[in-house]
Amino acid sequence: MTDTVPDSLAAARPPQSQWRNVWDQYKTHRGALWGMGFFLFVVLAVLLGPYLWTIDAQYIDIRARNQGPSLSHPFGTDQLGRDTLARMLSGGRVSMFVGMTAMLLALLLGTLVGVVAGYFKRLDGPLMRLTDLFLALPLLPLLLVIIMLFRDTLRSAFGPETGIFILIVFVIGITSWMQTARIVRGDVLALKEREFVIASRSIGTPSRRMISRHILPNVLSPITVSATLGIANAIITESALSFLGLGFPSDFPTWGRLLFDSTDYLQQYPERVLWPGLAISLTVLSVNYIGDGLRDALDPRIRGR
């Protein structure tokens, strides 16, 4: 068959990789480029930073407490003389990792529930009632109970930090997938009646490929939006948990923990709130911009404009 193709085929452009087009479009979104630059910077900083800035985040130097920014402590020190920069770097590692993993878990659950509920009519009722149930659960008592029940088991199984990490990611993931599920279900319900889905049905495409080829790419926009919001949400929930003493141990730095520790000294040393607050909001902002750029780049209707 290929042999009989006339010469004009050779003249026609061979199909280009779609990801190239996506990247070309992504590049035109200035905010998204800045966002990605900053996000990469933060990731590199929290991953490599502790190797370059070698002061131990847990090291207490009581004589150097409550210092302002100086050469030996660029971000100053806290009430126990611990170096704020070192605590920011190691705290960021935990916060970012918790944020990303919890968001991924929530996204996965939400998309799965939403697509299945929207696409398969028989599962719609049970799954959406389950979603309502989760939405109706009071969050904090639930977290309290979960952490009370499982903290010690997980600690002994995975060690204190990994155990708590798994627990927190699971708890945040399991309590924040409902919005995504609702949005995705609504979109899938509308998409299912679109003519291109019916056309695909007339071709005989089975459900699983129908979902991967036609449904998922078209619900990408709401999913990216929930993803970017989800990271922010997860970081903040983790902070709240740490504040309540339900999260990581109190001497273990995370951005949320730093923020809440500093609130006691808000009047004397306002800059101490600034650093973790700035880190959280700028990271969230950069993720939002990345999501914005991605959504535009993945939509062929906006691409090239």
Binding site: M1, A12, P15, F196, I198, D299, P300
Partner: protein, 345 residues
């Protein structure tokens, strides 16, 4: 053109498509929307059967039910001797390449996130095991057949005009060499100059590949142009089925007569003197159809029998089927001697 001696490619018998209505707190089944209510028709190989009727009369539902996009309520649809209603989902999937569909809205029928090449290739991916270069070659072949530039293969649907989009839809429908294509108002969303192009393309492709069309439309003049036989639907039923020329020159059913009289004539002199049959009232709801003849509420010649007995769909002259009590008996069927509901303009 149609050779009635041969066996029909598509044989529809007593097709019913009812959509249940659920109401109340417990979502009880309180009734049915009878979108398609007991239609029977044959479509012969390489002919075009036009299906006309006003909006909401069940034309599109009939088309979709015939190629099993819905689970039909009752009746049988045989395509190439296989009864689709009896098939399980796997055998039905294997039958899909024989029957394809062209949709009304070319914008909505193409996935906005897929390139033209992948849209046209979707049926090939599903039903044939081709290497990617073979598949691309076939896509280019199809794009040539429907008159699309090969350089457009990597573009996306929103970058095309309506007519070009419809060509993409046609190329996709042709990809698996189907025998039977349901054209669901393929030209309704296009402007008039493009309509002619698309209809001519459909005719050329029919000659080239020996296709059989079920051409659903509300455009009577376009159906007159393309169809070999024409079926007229009203409220879920076929009221008249006849060869094209017979139907347009001697319509027998009062609804067909009213429908044809609504087509304006280009000549102003004859248009002035022409009699229009104006139907009074609205189409009854398909959820609550009248007893007796479906058309009795609006029919200019209806009598008591029409409100009691549903007229049989019978062959009046060879090839011409009509569902009316008065056809073939009285002169009333011409619709000219009746008074009251026929206004002269």
């Amino acid at each position: 053109m149609s050779d009635t001696a041969q066996a029909p490619l598509v044989q529809v018998r007593g097709l019913k498509m009812h959509f249940p209505i659920h109401a109340g707190l417990f979502r009880r089944h309180v009734g049915d929307i009878k979108a398609v209510d007991d239609i029977s028709l044959d479509i012969f190989e390489s002919e075009t059967l036009g299906l006309v009727g006003e909006s909401g009369c069940g034309k599109s539902t009939a088309g979709r039910a015939i190629i099993s996009l819905y689970t039909i309520t009752d009746g049988s649809v045989e395509i190439d001797g296989v009864d689709l209603a009896q098939l399980d989902s796997n055998s039905l999937r294997a039958m899909r390449p024989k029957m394809q569909m062209i949709f009304q809205d070319p914008q909505a029928s193409l996935n906005p996130r897929m390139s033209v090449a992948s849209i046209i290739a979707e049926p090939l991916v599903e039903h044939m095991s081709l290497s990617s270069s073979e598949r691309l070659a076939r896509v280019y072949e199809l794009m040539d057949a429907v008159g699309l530039n090969r350089a457009f293969a990597e573009r996306f649907p929103h970058e095309f005009s309506g007519g070009q989009r419809q060509r993409i839809g046609i190329a996709r429908a042709l990809a698996l060499n189907p025998k039977f294509i349901v054209c669901d108002e393929p030209i309704a969303a296009l402007d008039v100059s493009i309509q002619a192009q698309v209809v001519n393309l459909l005719e050329d492709l029919q000659k080239q590949f020996g296709l059989t069309y079920l051409f659903i439309s509300h455009d009577l003049s376009m159906v007159r142009h393309i169809a070999d036989r024409v079926a007229v639907m009203y409220l879920g039923k076929i009221v008249e089925l006849a060869p094209r020329d017979t139907l347009y020159s001697q319509p027998l059913h009062p609804y067909t007569q009213a429908l044809l009289s609504a087509v304006p004539e280009p000549d102003p002199v004859s248009e002035k003197d022409r009699r229009h049959i104006i139907l009074k009232g609205d189409v009854p709801s398909p959820a609550n159809t009248p007893t007796g003849c479906n058309f009795c509420t609006r029919c200019p010649i209806a009598e008591d029998i029409c409100r009691q007995i549903d007229p049989e769909f019978r062959e009046i002259t060879p090839g011409q089927f009509v569902a009316c009590h008065f056809v073939g008996e009285t002169t009333k069927s011409t619709g000219e001697n009746t008074t009251g509901t026929i206004a002269q303009h």
